[in-house]
Subunit: 117 residues, 2 copies
């Protein structure tokens, strides 16, 4: 388990089952059995995923009700989204592709020179 | 290594060294030696991190120049940011609730009323 919160958040999100669990919790709290239902997985395996999410602070489990419902805690994702924000310019302005284009066109023999021949 | 792109992206971001490497690359391409410089880490350890980033498609390494510069590829982060988008309402709503609470609790003792007495 990573020691810093941001690493813990990203690590918790790096699994399709855990992301599906979080997605299910957007429509309201659910018991462990309810959360396990859609997955072809043992209850202990699902519980293990829930523990990762809980340690990352992405879900909480109530101690009040006997069925101990799980609840979404989206707050840690805020830091993750904020961390990605400065990179938005790169993917939106397609700076990656611009880089490629500039490299390719400077690597190729200059077209103007060819025309002069 | 996770098999789906989204898991690979999140897993690659789940490490402070890898995030620092990406951050360094926002200011332009860099050689492996340059990237390793700020870290108290062996070159093979840094190379291992670079391989994780490369497999996730977050960096690319040029084969043209002899110093084989690494370059940022932010595109995979787009999918990650899009995945988090539906949760934004949750973390922002929580802030709204906190705002409401703070507003209510500061309104309750009504300092102005007291002054008027």
């Amino acid at each position: 388990m990573p020691s810093d919160q941001l690493s813990a958040t990203f690590a918790a999100l790096a699994d399709p089952t855990r992301r599906a669990i979080l997605s299910r919790l957007t429509s309201g709290e659910a018991s462990v059995t309810e959360l396990a239902e859609p997955f072809d997985m043992s209850l202990p395996a699902v519980t293990k995923h829930l523990k990762v999410l809980q340690r990352a602070g992405l879900i909480s489990q109530s101690r009040e009700a006997q069925w101990r419902p799980c609840r979404l805690r989206a707050r840690p994702m805020r830091e993750a989204a904020e961390w990605m924000e400065p990179y938005r310019a790169h993917w939106e302005q397609r700076l990656d592709r611009l880089d490629d284009y500039l490299r390719e066109s400077s690597a190729r023999p200059a077209p103007r020179t060819r025309k002069k021949r």
